[in-house]
């Protein structure tokens, strides 16, 4: 995924586009799974267990599913723009990465709070709590955007609009 060095010459959107496509699909699929899990819990009750939810750590959380779907949509929106030749579609990849990281940080902070409850305060409600208890797609899916952010940091630095358009032609 090393695209450094190409920025000044020919910014190529193919790699960000493929990256956005993969991230977009992953976020949308897991968002849908999470929504089914959440809706099933509400409509059928606590007996409802969605297949794969254990392996994929999918919680029954409808609001959380909207967040995943939203991040996925941002990535896919960028893919559509980049495919149509609009270089500025790269903005969606950038913001998608930022949103993925922001929500991962939020989930990790919430998890840190629970860890303090379990290990520092010894709260009975958290007696069975382990590090995996709070694992969710919003956290592990952010690993890919995190790598992309580190690797492509310079790629998102200001560049002239004029050169974008020229490169595309």
């Amino acid at each position: 995924m090393d695209i450094s060095g190409t920025v000044d010459e020919k910014p190529d959107t193919r790699l960000p586009m493929i990256f956005s496509l993969i991230c977009g699909f992953l976020y949308v699929i897991l968002g849908l799974l999470q929504m089914v899990a959440g809706a099933g819990r509400i409509l059928i009750g606590t007996d409802f267990v969605m297949p794969l939810s254990g392996i994929l750590f999918v919680p029954a959380d409808v609001i959380g599913s909207f967040v995943l779907l939203l991040i996925g949509t941002v990535f896919l929106y960028g893919v559509m723009e980049m495919r149509s030749g609009t270089y500025e579609g790269i903005s969606y990849a950038y913001v998608g990465i930022l949103l993925a990281l922001i929500f991962a940080v939020i989930y990790l902070l919430v998890s840190t709070g629970n860890m303090l409850e379990a290990y520092l305060l010894g709260n009975e409600e958290f007696a069975d709590w382990t590090l995996l208890s709070d694992m969710k797609p919003g956290i592990y899916l952010a690993i890919l955007p995190l790598f992309a952010y580190i690797k492509w940091k310079d790629f998102f630095e200001p560049t002239t609009e004029a050169s974008f358009r020229m490169d595309l032609k």
Binding site: V67, L70, S91, V110, T159
Partner: protein
């Protein structure tokens, strides 16, 4: 001018960093934010430098001296009427051309000006180059480069201020407006000069130009002059709109003549701000992203704060046990244990939530996202009869309704402003947060964060519906067009965010030690008397009070205890939780209070939802009522806000409770 003393005024366009410069100069901690209109009142501070006492006045931002809004009038009147020794115009170096418009007007005013080029780092990052020497030469005005957020150039600025103090003469600037307009200016000047009683602080040329531009404020200022009718006769004989446009064109012509000589712009750069804005202001994604970010903020406010709340709880338990075992007689132990620690403790335990909420709000504000939120909501706001700018005071209301109502001063149109003032109290402030945390945490478990987020959304929805209703009835008319500058995104500084968090969080703690303390003592007395009754029972005074009001609130699912808590919550919303702590005899622990609420057969998840909604919407707190009166200049609107709030709260809670009962909850 007194030797050793200098009075300087900081003026400039909104959101150019005046308050940041003010803080850097005076060492103050005035609130700064990355959106236009943070400062609505002038603020003063001082700095001693090289044997000079320099008084610094921070004025609200203004785009021009043709004042359209209240805060702009404050800025203009101060410069003209108080005559500061030096007017420092803070200029956003990344937006130089537009900022120079105000410079042209300040020069016409005859003030001694010093230009501070701020935010040079942003301009330089973008690739702009500003030739300061050339700029000084062309404007015949000293120019100093600063990066106020990093305290760069502050000493140079103070040195220049002292140097300028000694300069007796300064260059007078005049922009030629063309033969026709100049003739009119001269004509008006001549007529005005005949009035020997006129206010000589206002230059005649300046007044004449303002009148030709249709400045109603200046027109009012000369309305008692004996030559007023003759002046109006001249003004009425011209096409004022055409003149106004022509005058603005001439000013921009002057700016465009000198601008290319003092600055070269990097061409068409797409900045990170542009990239982010492309997505965050997208017409389909903008609002969902805004809602998701707000949900994340409230999820964090609830969930991350919980262990810290528990730590306070544990400390308070130890303290309460120590105090109770040391106190005699029994009534004193009850006053301290059930009353003060039970009540104040029930409020203090939510300090971590308050601190986290304010920290997150500060991040949103400092990043520049609030201005975008107003922008993406504008279309919706306009449809329901509100001004897009109103959304910023509404979001500010998440912290505290009082400054949020004051922030409405930046709205130019009086009707838009009035509607904003009247609906801001529906926006959930920090004082309501403990109520949500207590009841959502008790009855909704891990979904508490979402329920709390829902309450904030409910507040916004009710505010929007109310605006529509007000626009259609008592404040008829169409909202004015929305024009707002979107500031560049910035990474908020940790220091600014922590200061903002501390200042607001400390206010909450201070309230717990003052008004809430008094409130809980009063409730304890009412719960303990007449002498001999069981503490907090239905036979006590508080029981009688609760029973008197309870029939009105029974359709909402509330019993007499909740009724009492809501009555005392009229003073400050936090007292609702404090009262529950006292009335349920929960002592110091919020966990005990939660357990007793669950054990109370009258309290269910549905009741708690109804109670949260009622607490959100019913009468604004006393401080908010006071500021509504002050900002509207009449008790009429303050009283209206009280009764309207109570009616809306009752209807909403009724719909929630009775609807829930019908659905079998």
């Amino acid at each position: 001018m007194e030797a050793g003393k200098i009075k300087i005024a900081l003026t400039g366009n909104p959101n150019v960093g005046k308050t940041t410069l003010f803080n850097a100069l005076t060492g103050s901690r005035q609130h700064v934010g990355n959106w236009p209109g943070v400062t609505v009142e002038k603020k003063s501070g001082s700095v001693s430098y090289k044997e000079y006492d320099i008084e610094v006045i921070d004025l609200p931002g203004t785009y021009s001296l043709t004042a359209y809004s209240m805060d702009e009038i404050v800025a203009r009147d101060f410069i003209i009427e108080e005559k500061p020794d030096i007017v420092i115009q803070v200029v956003d170096a990344s937006n130089l051309e537009r900022n120079l418009y105000l410079t042209t007007q300040l020069m016409e005013l005859g003030s001694k000006i010093l230009i501070v080029l701020n935010m040079c780092d942003i301009a330089e990052e973008r690739g702009d180059r500003i030739y300061i020497d050339k700029m000084q030469e062309l404007l015949a005005t000293p120019v100093i480069r600063t990066v106020a957020s990093q305290k760069e150039g502050i000493c140079d600025l103070l040195d220049k201020v002292i140097e300028q103090k000694e300069v007796q003469q300064h260059h007078g600037h005049e922009i030629g407006y063309g033969t026709e307009i100049e003739d009119r200016i001269l004509e008006i000047e001549k007529v005005l000069a005949e009035d020997e009683t006129r206010d000589t602080r206002y230059p005649l040329r300046w007044i004449s130009i303002r009148l030709l531009e249709g400045d109603s404020n200046v027109r009012e200022k000369i309305s008692k002059s004996p030559v007023y009718d003759r002046v109006i006769q001249i003004i009425d004989s011209i096409d004022q709109e055409e003149y106004e446009a022509e005058i603005a064109d001439k000013r921009y012509l002057a700016i465009n003549t000198v601008f290319p000589q003092m600055c070269t712009r990097a061409n068409g750069k797409l900045t990170k701000s542009d990239m982010i804005d492309r997505v965050l202001t997208n017409k389909y994604l903008g609002i969902p992203i805004f809602l998701a970010l707000m949900w994340g903020a409230f999820e964090l406010t609830f969930a991350f704060a919980t262990p810290f709340m528990d730590m306070i709880d544990l400390s308070a338990t130890w303290f309460a046990e120590y105090v109770s075992s040391s106190l005699q007689p029994a009534w004193l132990a009850s006053l301290v244990g059930d009353g003060i620690i039970g009540g104040v403790g029930a409020v203090l335990v939510f300090v971590p939530n308050i601190f986290i909420l304010f920290f997150l709000l500060s991040l949103l504000e400092g990043s520049g996202y609030l201005a975008r939120a107003a922008f993406i909501m504008d279309k919706l706001m306009y449809k329901i009869g509100m001004h897009g700018k109103s959304f910023i005071p509404m979001l500010m209301g998440f912290g505290c309704n009082v400054p949020a109502i004051m922030a409405a001063r930046s709205i130019e149109d009086e009707k838009d402003r009035l509607i904003t003032i009247l609906v801001v109290p529906f926006v959930s402030c920090g004082a309501r947060l403990p109520i949500y945390v207590l009841f959502a945490g008790t009855f909704f478990g891990r979904q508490a964060g979402t329920v709390i987020f829902g309450m904030y959304v409910l507040g916004i929805i009710i505010a929007i519906i109310s605006a529509k209703l007000l626009r259609a009835t008592v404040v008829k008319g169409k909202p004015a067009p929305f024009i707002m500058e979107l500031p560049p995104y910035r990474v908020p500084t940790l220091k600014t965010s922590l200061i903002h968090m501390w200042d607001n969080g400390f206010m909450y703690i201070k309230k717990a030690g003052t008004i809430i303390l008094v409130g809980v003592v009063v409730i304890w007395v009412l719960a303990s008397f007449p002498w001999g009754v069981q503490y907090g029972s239905e036979d006590s005074y508080v029981g009688s009070l609760g029973h008197a009001v309870a029939p009105l609130l029974k359709p909402l699912g509330f019993d007499w205890k909740i009724s009492v808590a809501l009555i005392f919550g009229l003073v400050a919303k936090e007292i609702v939780v404090a009262s529950m702590g006292v009335l349920y005899g929960a002592g110091e622990s919020s966990d005990v209070l939660s357990d007793r609420l669950i054990a109370d057969s009258g309290m269910t998840a549905l009741t708690s939802l109804s109670l949260m909604a009622f607490s959100l919407l019913y009468m604004p707190c006393v401080a908010t009522v006071g500021v509504i009166r002050k900002e509207t200049g009449s008790w009429k609107w303050a009283v209206f806000a009280i009764f309207y709030g109570i009616i809306v709260a009752w209807i909403t809670a009724f719909v929630i409770y009775q609807g829930g009962v019908l659905l079998g909850y």
